[in-house]
């Protein structure tokens, strides 16, 4: 339900944007006073020009904004009326006529430029000179535009404008910002304005004003101003009480930053722990419930990821592949290939591909798992070390198949629009895809729990796990149960792969990067215990992120995590929740 709401919002947003796009320079017929002023500014010089520009900036209107924008882009030209007549600033039409000439529109009236005989004048692109603008003038026009932007209807544009003015180090903007504060209604922009005012006041020579500004910034947690305040605190010529206030402010802002980092790390830890959880859950089921070490688990993940890639291509331009074997009969190279035509979907239909791809990856990976179980694994149940070797062989085989079919390079999978982007709260960035993976992991855990506890199959699985032979004596079809369990575990791996395709690379050896981590998670959690796997995954994910923050290097963090796990296993060799069994061999 929520997905459709989101899509409806997207559709209406897109429609609104398309309607609002203007094609040609809009020439309004009102605001003649503003127009006259604009002409005065364009033809004026020096201080006069500056003053007129300031006046214009305080009277926001669309025509002023558009004309000033054209000015900065050198799109305003001067037409010198013949016989030493007045100079007329004009805008040139965009559309050229059949001869390559264009009309000109007068800035002061907005109408087409005509000569004294009322005939419309046509110009070549090189006939007229643009208005003389030097760097200082350009800066002044840009500032006028910035001040106009303070009233822009778009929140982000307003915030950006406020920040720009705040960093400009020109105290004359303080009253302008304060005036805007009175008219502003959005609290985030108000906060930005306050920060901007305080930043400008930092440059004030009066120490009292400075201290007030520093305290203001500190209470508003202005991270962007930290460097400036730091400079004030350490500069040699600051007054002692100012320096003291600055130091206190630096401390306060730093502690805010570490709080932000802390929560940000926790969030990222949760999300990377969720990824690890999704990846390791399938392995926990096959390893824990069945005692099979499946080194091909990584390849099941890759199957899921490649499924998403194929589905995306089918929704787009189609998918083809061709595998050529190095044999040939009668000069004809043996090989096989297939082409699936694409449906060339666009817009929201195309964005839905991911929703279709998810169940499809589950199904295909589960099928692959079942095939693997029937072909190879079913002979290796009581021999865990041999299952390791045989499944490693399968993994090599599958990796090479991926290379032959999809190519040895990583393939590109585009994220749907509703998964990209993020929102920021309290300066912490919450990415949509990270939130999605956390939600996804929760869904999967609940689904697995329901499968294991509420369904008849789950009951059989638990029975077979506890004592295979006894269950078999009681009439449970153990072969079939193992097959379905292995399929389910592989399907989970496929789901993990579908998700990993959105956040990581998709290539033939993508599974290998996750194998060691997932085994570690399962072993730390305690083999045979799903809850243990959950704790272990979240713990390892968070520890990884935290150590990454501390050591500022992902590699050293990872190595530390591995060493900590090795030491942890000394203390608790069975993992967090060891399976208690009366057998001596464990």
């Amino acid at each position: 339900m929520h997905k459709f709401k989101l899509i409806a919002v997207l559709i209406s947003g897109c429609l609104a944007c398309s309607l609002a796009k203007a094609a040609a320079p809009v020439v309004a017929d009102d605001d003649s006073a503003s127009r006259q002023k604009l002409v005065q500014a364009l033809l004026g010089t020096g201080d006069d020009q500056q003053k007129i520009l300031n006046d214009l900036a305080l009277n926001p209107s669309k025509i002023v904004h558009d004309t000033l924008l054209s000015w900065t882009r050198d799109e305003i030209y001067i037409y010198e009326t013949p016989n030493a007549g007045p100079k007329v600033p004009v805008l040139l039409e965009e559309q050229q006529n059949a001869d390559g000439k264009v009309h000109a529109f007068r800035v002061d009236t907005g109408k087409v430029l005509v000569d004294d005989k009322n005939k419309e004048l046509l110009f070549d692109s090189n006939d007229l000179n643009s208005v003389d603008t030097d760097m200082r003038l350009r800066g002044a026009v840009q500032q006028a535009l910035d001040m106009l932007a303070l009233a822009d209807p778009n929140i982000n544009a307003r915030t950006e404008a406020v920040q720009k003015l705040g960093k400009s180090q020109k105290p004359q903007y303080v009253p302008i910002l304060q005036a805007r504060l009175g008219k502003e209604s959005i609290s985030s922009v108000k906060k930005a304005i306050n920060i901007g005012i305080a930043t400008l006041k930092l440059g004030d020579p009066d120490p009292k004003v400075k201290i007030e500004a520093i305290n203001q910034l500190s209470s508003l947690n202005a991270i962007g101003d930290l460097d400036d305040i730091q400079k004030i605190a350490t500069a040699r010529d600051t007054a002692p009480e100012v320096a003291k206030a600055a130091r206190a402010a630096v401390k306060a802002i730093n502690s805010y930053i570490s709080a932000v980092n802390f929560f940000g790390t926790i969030f990222r830890g949760m999300s990377s722990g969720s990824i690890l959880l999704i990846v390791a859950l399938g392995l926990a089921i096959t390893f824990g419930l069945m005692g099979i070490i499946n080194m091909a688990h990584g390849e099941m993940i890759a199957i899921g990821a490649y499924t998403v890639y194929v589905v995306e291509n089918i929704f787009g331009a189609g998918f083809t592949f061709r595998v050529n074997l190095p044999f040939s009969i009668a000069g004809h190279v043996l090989g096989f290939g297939a082409t699936i035509p694409g449906i060339h979907a666009t817009g929201w239909l195309y964005e839905c591909y991911f929703i279709l791809a998810i169940p499809l990856s589950f199904i295909i990976s589960a099928t692959a798992g079942i095939v693997l179980e029937r072909a190879v694994i079913q002979f290796l149940y009581r021999r865990p070390l041999e299952s390791l070797l045989a499944t490693y062989g399968v993994s090599l085989f599958m990796q090479q198949c991926f290379r032959l079919v999809f190519g040895a390079n990583n393939v590109q999978v585009n994220s749907p629009a509703w998964l990209s982007g993020n929102f920021t709260a309290f300066d912490i960035i919450f990415g949509y895809n990270r939130l999605f993976v956390i939600a996804f992991a929760i869904l999967i855990v609940i689904g697995t729990w329901m499968l294991l506890t509420k369904t008849p199959l789950g009951l059989l699985i638990r029975a077979v796990m506890q004592n295979r032979d006894m269950a078999s004596c009681m009439g449970v079809p153990t072969q079939r149960v193992y097959m379905l369990t292995f399929g389910f575990g592989s399907g989970l791996a496929g789901l993990a792969g579908a998700f990993l395709s959105q956040i990581g690379n998709v290539g033939p050896s993508m599974g290998q990067t996750w194998i060691v981590d997932s085994f570690m998670t399962v072993v730390v959690g305690g083999v045979g215990n799903i809850v243990g796997t959950i704790y272990a995954a979240l713990g390892i994910g968070t520890a990884d992120q935290v150590l990454q923050q501390i050591f500022e290097s992902p590699v050293v963090g990872k190595i530390t995590v591995l060493i900590v796990i090795i030491l942890f296993l000394q203390w608790k060799p069975g993992g967090l929740f060891p399976t208690r069994s009366r057998s001596l061999e464990g």
Binding site: L385, G393, L396, Q512, F519, V555, I566, P573
Partner: protein, 510 residues
């Protein structure tokens, strides 16, 4: 005297010694046309001829000498040794290029019948080197020791490339033995033996990097990658590696200590079976990503390469490679004998008992952790020595050698050959690597598929490996034969009690 070998095994060892240690190197040296230091009998005469370079042959030779070398030859104060080195380098360089003969160059040179005969054959490759060698020998008849060319049939020709390849295979065989004494004999599957192999390789590699001296790309006395990273002088821990005994000691010390620490922690807490394997895999994975970092100052992801000298001998000369090959074969022999002897002692029995049922051994009062620790350290040391000999022959060591998939491949070699025996790993290592050399040339796209199938096939259908193949086939045939026999008349029925077997126990006094 306790019988260590069966007669079959004894014959096998003898064949190996003769073939690998004597025949192959001899064939290779017969094929080797390179000059060695002892071939220059009259250095002074050669130097004089080259300095004046009046005849066309000497002019040609003089042009081939490097500018530094020309300075040494022209220098009357240079020692005979220095000049010999220059001559050695130059002459070897000359014979390796294209055919040096043309009428103008060799006017006035009397060619021996051997040379003329070979010239008529228009040889190529190795034989071309021989022709060049003979021509040079004729050109400086009095000053060089004449070499004699022996035309060997194709199948007896052992090229330098082959000797190098065999040396590599034998290093792998030693590594496979180290895995087998852990897995086949003690029941511990270690997926991290490549870590010790690589560590030994790195230690030897550091020594070899120091031996490059100032001949690297940057012409500085410190290794190239350090210059690239911005170092001006050698870091402290690199300095002692210029001595070979120290490097050798470190090859044994570092992997030994690491395996001691890890094994102690692992076995003390009774980590067994699958968990142990996964832990070793995690250890090697952690090490491989650690060694990829540049700030470890061990070459980063490029590792060490471009070795030039070892113990004063040029590594690029075929003679040095021959000696390395012989050393590897000797190492394999020594390892095999040591492990064989170990399996016949009481220690070996306990080892196999641990494999079969560790709990019973524990109940019998043995501290199995100590036995396992000893074997773990021993196999780490063996792997490390194999790595140390591997590096000068292959010429490169990088963190890829520590990767987890390499370690699992070693386990497959053992499985293919037959675990639980000592010959099995050797056969398996050589077989699989030979297969790889062939497949990566013939069907490079399919090699991994072949390897994967090999894993699956061996695990499912050949549990005893190649060594056990003979027995397996025999049992299969016997089973078939048994099914075809008519049922025996003398089926025991339930009424008549079976005849008791004769026992060695004394009769019970009733």
């Amino acid at each position: 005297m306790r019988r260590i070998f069966t007669s079959f095994e004894a014959w096998g060892v003898l064949v190996f010694v003769v073939l690998a240690l004597v025949v192959l190197p001899a064939l290779n040296s017969l094929m080797d046309a390179s000059y060695s230091a002892g071939d220059f009998t009259n250095v002074a005469g050669l130097v004089a001829k080259l300095n004046t370079h009046s005849d066309p042959l000497s002019e040609f030779v003089w042009e081939q000498i490097s500018p530094d070398g020309q300075k040494t030859i022209a220098d009357s104060k240079a020692t005979v040794g220095e000049q010999k080195i220059v001559l050695l380098d130059t002459f070897n360089k000359i014979i390796q290029t294209d055919l040096i003969y043309n009428d103008a160059r060799f006017t006035g040179v009397k060619l021996s019948p051997e040379t003329l005969a070979l010239k008529l054959q228009h040889p190529d490759n190795e034989n071309l080197k021989w022709l060049n060698r003979l021509l040079m020998d004729d050109g400086y008849a009095g000053d060089l020791k004449k070499a004699h060319y022996m035309a060997l049939p194709n199948f007896l020709q052992v090229s330098n490339f082959s000797i190098n390849l065999y040396g590599k295979y034998l290093c792998y065989a030693v590594l496979a033995i180290s895995v087998d004494i852990l897995w086949g004999y003690t029941g511990l599957l270690s997926l991290g033996q490549c870590l010790f192999f690589s560590l030994g390789g790195y230690m030897m590699g550091m020594y070899l990097m120091r031996m490059i001296g100032s001949l690297g790309q940057y012409q500085k006395p410190i290794p190239d990658f350090l210059v690239f990273l911005g170092w001006n002088s050698l870091p402290a821990f690199w300095k002692p590696f210029s001595s070979f005994p120290f490097a050798l000691m470190m090859t044994l010390l570092l992997p030994g200590l690491l395996s001691l620490a890890f094994g102690f922690l692992a076995f003390r807490s009774r980590i067994r079976g699958v968990y142990f394997s996964i832990l070793t895999q995690a250890l090697t994975y952690a090490a491989s990503i650690l060694f990829l970092r540049n700030n470890l100052l061990l070459g980063g992801n490029n590792g060490f390469t471009d070795f030039k000298f070892m113990l004063g001998h040029d590594l690029r000369l075929p003679a040095t490679q021959r000696v390395l090959y012989i050393c590897t074969a000797l190492l394999l022999l020594a390892t095999y004998l040591l492990c064989k002897w170990l399996t016949t002692t009481r220690f070996g029995k306990i080892q196999r008992a641990i494999r079969d049922s560790e709990n019973r051994v524990l109940f019998s009062g043995y501290s199995t952790a100590n036995f396992k620790l000893f074997i773990f350290v021993l196999s780490g040391l063996i792997a490390s020595l194999a790595g140390a000999l591997y590096v000068p022959q292959v010429g490169i060591i990088n963190p890829n050698e520590m990767a987890t998939d390499k370690s699992i491949e070693v386990v497959v070699w053992v499985a293919v050959g037959g675990r639980g025996t000592l010959v099995g790993p050797v056969i398996g290592a050589i077989f699989v690597n030979a297969l790889r050399s062939w497949a990566t040339r013939a069907y490079p796209d399919l090699w991994l598929i072949i390897l994967g199938f090999l894993f699956i096939f061996v695990v499912l259908f050949m549990p005893k490996g190649i060594v056990g193949l003979f027995d397996q086939v025999r049992d299969l045939l016997k089973g078939k034969a048994k099914n075809q026999e008519p049922p025996s008349r003398a089926t025991p029925d339930l009424v008549t009690p079976p005849k008791p077997a004769t026992s060695n126990m004394p009769p019970v006094k009733s």
